[in-house]
């Protein structure tokens, strides 16, 4: 039912990004469907992370950042949405597990608290729900007040997912979320992502081509700041239109 309605969450039109003299993204146009996983693949410095950080305007923090083109979230130019509401709607999970130097509970509650929720009962319910959604609840329910740094790397990354979920976003951006994790933790995070797409729209940047093949609905291949090809994931991996895409997914360069 959800998938039959093809509603566009993000629409990116003619996007160009510069950092000082570096032309990081060149004329990118992509539509991102709601409740799908879009994976962005490509070698490092291909522009895929820059692309991801355009969606929650995190690039704005860079002093040398300049852009042209439009990024629309549900038809509204993100430039016109103030960054706090935008980032509330578009959550992000970073490449390395980055818990804040707070307790497990406070990490998950952080975003909601910052948006003004003070009721401890509501907060603790929300923390529980979010941790369950990230498949971490069972492991941490008895130690919520411990420092988040005491968790293992994989647990920390799921904590970061729970922290993002707690804000109740519409879109979740994953920036190579498994790059620092072992295969078992990776499988758990991937599992979580696939289940999460029932509720959320997901954009996943990954260096791991196989991961893209496993979880992506759509796959975009970036190279040197250009979008080379965007198609259904099975198409990209089985019959890519561009020779460079074919070379990359078959591991000929990386």
């Amino acid at each position: 039912m959800v998938n039959s309605v093809r509603n566009v969450k993000f629409e990116i039109i003619g996007l160009n990004v510069w950092f000082g003299p570096v032309h990081a993204l060149k004329q990118i146009s992509i539509g991102i469907q709601a409740n799908e996983i879009l994976t962005a693949i490509g070698p490092s410095n291909s522009g895929k992370t820059t692309f991801l950080r355009m969606l929650n305007r995190l690039n704005d923090l860079n002093q040398d950042f300049k852009m042209a083109g439009v990024v629309k979230l549900e038809q509204e130019d993100v430039k016109n949405i103030d960054t706090e509401s935008l980032r509330k709607r578009v959550g992000m999970v970073f490449a390395l597990p980055l818990p804040l130097p707070l307790s497990i509970f406070d990490n998950v509650a952080y975003g909601v608290r910052m948006h003004g929720e003070k009721n401890e009962k509501i907060l603790s319910e929300l923390v529980e729900v979010s941790l369950k959604e990230a498949y971490l609840w069972k492991e941490v329910k008895d130690r919520l007040n411990e420092s988040a740094f005491k968790l293992s790397g994989g647990q920390q990354q799921r904590l970061c997912i729970a922290r993002t979920l707690a804000v109740e976003p519409e879109v979740i951006l994953f920036d190579e979320p498994c790059s620092g994790l072992d295969p078992i933790s990776t499988a758990k995070v991937e599992d979580a992502m696939v289940k999460l797409k029932q509720k959320y729209t997901i954009v996943l940047v990954t260096n791991n081509v196989k991961q893209a093949a496993r979880v992506g609905d759509m796959t975009a291949f970036f190279l040197n700041g250009e979008l080379i090809e965007l198609d259904r994931t099975d198409k990209i991996f089985n019959a890519p239109a561009d020779k460079r895409t074919d070379g990359y997914v078959r591991g000929e360069f990386g």
């Binding site: 929650n56 995190l58 923090l61 002093q63 960054t83 706090e84 509401s85 935008l86 980032r87 509330k88 959550g91 992000m92 970073f94 390395l96 980055l98 804040l100 130097p101 952080y110 975003g111 910052m114 948006h115 420092s147 740094f149 970061c160 922290r163 993002t164 804000v167």
Partner: protein
């Protein structure tokens, strides 16, 4: 070949000698002051007012005066210094204004302490008509320790990993919320260190309080911030140069108390810094 090694040996010996020339006197100074000052210390010396033209009695008003001055200085300098540090570490861009601010801080740190005294006299004592008072002295000392507090606080703020800020912002927190809830709490030990170092500096300075607050001989406690006060460093100066025939014990005792106070603050700062480094989680 042998020659080059002999050169090296001679050079290294000279460098070692240079180091000894600095370190040994430092040790001697501390030892002399402890050895001659410690016997002078007793409860009466610390708690009594000076008597017989400062040739007898204790140094209590000077201790109290110094504590008042230092407290006043920090009340003034900490908020301004901390906010200035926040500006530099969180808001400033790499431009001419920032360059100017940094240059101003360097200069503020380099202004001779006696010039601070002149400035305090001109602006607080004369222009604002606070008179020679604890208020004038505290404000003068406060401006003087501002660079110490700004520089150390800024270092503390900047040592909080950038990724924490990104995470907080990515969750929709505002910039100020990020500073208030993530950056500041994790910079507290560093800020505290800087504050204590500033306190130590303010406690030991004499020249800035010469004309702004210091009373030559005032055998009672100050009643308000508009009163003059005695202060330890000025008292030491007075009894060692201005008053003849002061018992050596009183001089050494005063030097001992002042040195202990300042070194104690530095020690506390070092311990905080050390503990923090040990506990650092990232």
């Amino acid at each position: 070949m042998k020659n080059t090694y002999r050169t090296q040996k001679i050079a290294f010996s000279l460098l070692f000698l240079a180091t000894l020339l600095i370190v040994i006197p430092v040790g001697l100074i501390v030892v002399i002051i402890i050895q001659k000052g410690l016997p002078a210390i007793n409860w009466q010396f610390l708690s009594d007012i000076p008597r017989q033209g400062m040739r007898a009695g204790g140094i209590f008003p000077a201790i109290v005066g110094t504590i008042y001055l230092v407290t006043g200085a920090i009340i003034f300098a900490l908020p301004i210094g901390l906010l200035a540090a926040i500006y530099l570490s969180e808001y400033s861009k790499d431009n001419l204004l920032t360059r100017l601010i940094k240059l101003a801080i360097v200069n503020l740190a380099g202004v001779p302490s006696v010039v601070y005294g002149l400035f305090g006299l001109a602006i607080f004592v004369v222009f604002f008509k606070f008179g020679a008072s604890i208020l004038s002295g505290s404000l003068t000392l406060g401006i003087m320790i501002l660079p110490v507090i700004i520089t150390t606080s800024r270092e503390a703020l900047e040592s909080v990993p950038y990724s924490f800020r990104e995470v907080s912002l990515s969750l929709g927190a505002s910039k100020w919320q990020t500073i208030r809830h993530i950056v500041l709490p994790n910079a507290v030990p560093g800020i505290l260190t800087g504050t204590i170092l500033g306190l130590g500096r303010a406690a030991g300075e004499t020249a800035p309080i010469l004309f702004t607050v210091a009373a030559f001989y005032l055998p009672r406690l100050p009643g308000s911030i508009f009163d003059q006060a005695m202060a330890l460093p000025y008292h030491l100066y007075v009894i060692s140069t201005q008053v003849p025939n002061v018992d050596e014990k009183i001089r050494y005792g005063t030097a001992f108390v002042l040195l202990s106070l300042v070194l104690f603050m530095n020690l506390v700062a070092i311990i905080i810094r050390y503990q923090f480094r040990k506990k650092k989680k990232w």
